[in-house]
Amino acid sequence: MGIFLVSVPVIAVLMFILFKNSRIQHIISLVASSLSIIIAVYLTRNVMLFHSVSYSAWGGIFYIDYLSIIVLDIVLLISLIVSIYSIGYMETEIKHGKIDRSRLSLYYILMYSFIFTMVLALTVKNMGIMWIAIEGTTLSSAFLVGFYNDKCSLEAAWKYVIICSVGIAIAMLGIIFLHLSSIGVLESQQFLDWTALYDNAKSLKSPIVKLAFIFILIGFGTKTGLAPMHTWLPDAHSQAPSPISALLSGVLLNSAMYGIIRAVAIVNRNLGSSIYTGRLLIALGILSIFTAAICILAQKDYKRLLAYSSIEHMGIIAVGIGIFTPLSIFGALLHMINHSLTKSMLFLTSGNILQKYDTKQISKIKGALKLLPVSGIVFLLGLFAIAGMPPFSVFASEFNIIVSIFVAKRFFVGSAFILLLAIIFAGIAVNLFKIFYGNNQEEDLQRGETNIPGTVAIVVLLVVITITGLFIPNELKDLITQAQNIIIGM
């Protein structure tokens, strides 16, 4: 079944290559993503029944447990919504003549290979292959970032590939050291297998593990967008087509963060304390939030602003993991989910705004609430949500993380954290709120939504994040709690 999960995108890619008719391609993508959702649901059930799912195929490298299933579900859910959204979006782009119809299949091919690499990264237990998959995500999304083939997007793509590849290469170095530290502890068929590494973490060579960790942190941190390795992120997110931005920000960052979490779990178990990793993670996390705050204050481009806000939230998750108490891990995982949903909603909405106004400049946009009755409201509420206003879901997880920081008696970190969040909200309010009101100068824009299905999907997302702010199903809670136990090691 897991094999199907991995193979669905591959098959989809092949079919895209075969069928050139765009309508058929839309259908294929819908079918593929909904199929993978169904499989994901099935897998989730299995995981909840048997605690983990693994397959003998390909030397048994496929292994899914609570942690990976959470991230996996996020990936597939977002990709379903994105594929729904993409139909309307791409059609409009073609109508506006931004791209010609022939590139549609390229879009889908790249998008599904992107999804494939992410699914692969989350379903294998061999760190080497996970690394390969994550490098794969860079390569497959490179041309998506540069999809419009203009100066800016090419530049963004170039920076994206170079910086991420270098970072990932450093991560590889870390993995090699992890491998080195495990030589003599594991026998050869379970080399680099993180379940094995985790089980025997106590007997690994700590000095090398520590060395390995810093390289892994830098490497995957680059992909996660932790400052100061975040520099590729605003460019890529702002230049990619909006659905892809949603995928990048809502999904890719989480997959990279997943790698870090795995490493942290092993290292902390090996060292027997979270001080070593905690210092680094909290430092990088706060630094990311700070950088995001500063940049958001001075931002003129709304997609870049959203991108910086992603950096901020990755920082928050990093801090949560750095604290490394059950509560903070719970908060971090919950925050992963909430941030993915909220942020991808925002990026998709920004896609609608972009298509309506045909500019990324905040100053050129006025009266979004009038022109886009649905998207406008969703975007406004979404901004409140991403800033952590109750009753939206981001608030709940942020609150958990903040509480855990203070319970860990790290008062200065906590206060800085809260104040920085306030500054970020201020930045968003100052820069972005003005797009909603007033009347836009050029009158030729007519009122109303393009891309109805996409808008419906967005509204669904909004409803979801509003409800989950106050209430989450117990199954999800168990899932997260189990994952947290896996990380903490109980």
Partner: protein, 680 residues
Amino acid sequence: MEVGLATNLFKAAILFYLLGAAVALILINRHKLCNIISNAIYSVASALLIVSSIIKIISGSGQINISLFESPIPFITMNIRIDNLSAIFLLALSLLVLCVSLYSMGYISHYYGKRNVGIFNFLYSTFILSMIFVFTSANVVFFYIAWELMSMLSYFLVIFESEHEGNQRAGIIYIIMTYVGTAFLLIGFMLIYSYTNSFDIFGSSAAIPEFAKNIIFIMFLIGFATKAGAIPFHVWLPQAHPAAPSNVSALMSGIMIKTAIYGFVRFVLCYLGIQNTWWGVLILCIGIVSAVLGVAYALMEHNIKRLLAYSSVENIGIILIGLGVCFIAFAQENLLLGEMALVAALFHTFNHTLFKGGLFLGAGAIQYSTHTKDMEKLGGLIKTMPITALFILCFSLAVSAIVPFNGFVSEWLTYQSLFANIVSGQAGLNILSILAVAALGFAGAMAAACFVKLFGISFLGLPRSDHSLNAKEVPITMKIGMGMLATLCFAIGLFPLLILKLIDKVVFSLMGSSILEQLHGGCGIAYYSLNLSSGSISPAVMLIAIAGVILLALLGIRIIGGKYIERKYGTWDCGFEALNSRMQYTATGFSKPIKIVFKILFRPSRETVVTGDLAYHPESIEYITADESIIEKYIYNPVCERIKYFSRRMTFGVQTGSIHSYLTYIFVTVLLLMLYNMIA
């Protein structure tokens, strides 16, 4: 049994508000119907809430507990606990909401067809609900959620007329200030939790060390002072309150900023307990500054609603003076004085809710019939809108602390508590208290001037523009809304014990002893405290005296001078024939002397623009005066500029666009972390 009744009434009220919200959304396209029905529902709900809270207070110091729901997410639990303190604030809230809702039936009618009344009423009711929950939440998380919701919803209401640039700016300043303030609150709550491991508002703070309590107090001070709009955290208030529709401004200025007072009493006084005298001193100082500066800036405004907003700052200052004395007294274990100061503060809170709400409704009425908020365009409205004029006169007298209206009684209590706070032996405090007395006096006189200006310029004299010339009296429902408030102000002014008894019960249930024995004598108030016995007043008697004298005067003059003969004639114009409305004193002119005397506060600037080349016959001469608040000029604007500059520099310094610098970051990070690894 009574408590049970109160509980059920409370639940019913909540359900009614929800119902109203639902109705507003259902009838979203039938503007008139939607407005009438939902406002009727809100009025009913408020009536229920009034009864419920009164029953609650009278029925003694028990508590109403309602558990709403428990979320699977950690800490997200919502349960309600109403004690007398919550109840008195609920009473104020519901009284105001009742009047405002009646008023809105008429007031909103000018939105029909233009704006989305359904959304408005939905926001309106949810806003009220959020405030109710702020007053009644039993755990910090729920309080925080309600607090944030209150800010967000009120923000939406502030920018409801969002097509004006000014309103957008006001909304942004408001939401930012309140969010940052709340961040400080959150830090405070978190510190509390980190020591006590509980979010229970009614829990004990024994586990918190002294030092931490001071920090927490500072955090709360910043947070709540921001919401209260006390100087120097007030900048949002004169922006946001005028921007909102008037019935919302009435709610915001009348009760929303009081949530901060509730917060002070609930969290600092009841939860933390007063540790040091300097807490009270700090609050007292803030109060003094707010009272003086607030009214001073109010006097300079000629936009009615901005004037009222600044006057809210002043009244918050007066309330804070009361609170400050209360805190000082409790810090020195002077229970009786502390309780009286608390009574004074709560009573003034209550009164301010009534008359400031009324004033904003009045401003709304003016705007409704003249379509302007600018005094310079008004005048002579007393002829076209006599009833409204009468009501606004009452509110003006009340807010200027003049007998026989309610404002006077609470200020009297504040004076008395300051009076009692002065005992020989504590030099610093004495000086502070006497300064507070002086400040109160100054504020009182300035407030009187301020509202003479408001009433005199906009209602008396000749109409200064067509706006006021063709004004019409407002619909009956609006009059009812204002009238009820005016009546309340007058009644409470005459028989203060009506409310004082309730407030005394509140204080009794908080502090365990009552000062009702000191507040004796039918409708008079007298206060005797520790070895000093000071005066007693009786507004009613004074009123009777005044009335008697007036009758006597009428009688006497009738006897001496015979029948009253009156000749109508033009105003004295020094023989210059064509006296016109532009020759009246303007609002600006009225406050000019004070502006000049207190230059230091207003930084007045003026310029004369002469167009046309002819030296002696210019085409036009334009005379522009401006003044700006020193707080903005010297604190907020520079800071904002710095932040903006810094952030832009940083942003372009970090995100340079050159891939080499990006790679350098990674490179340096690698080296640093390797060093860290070597050291750690």
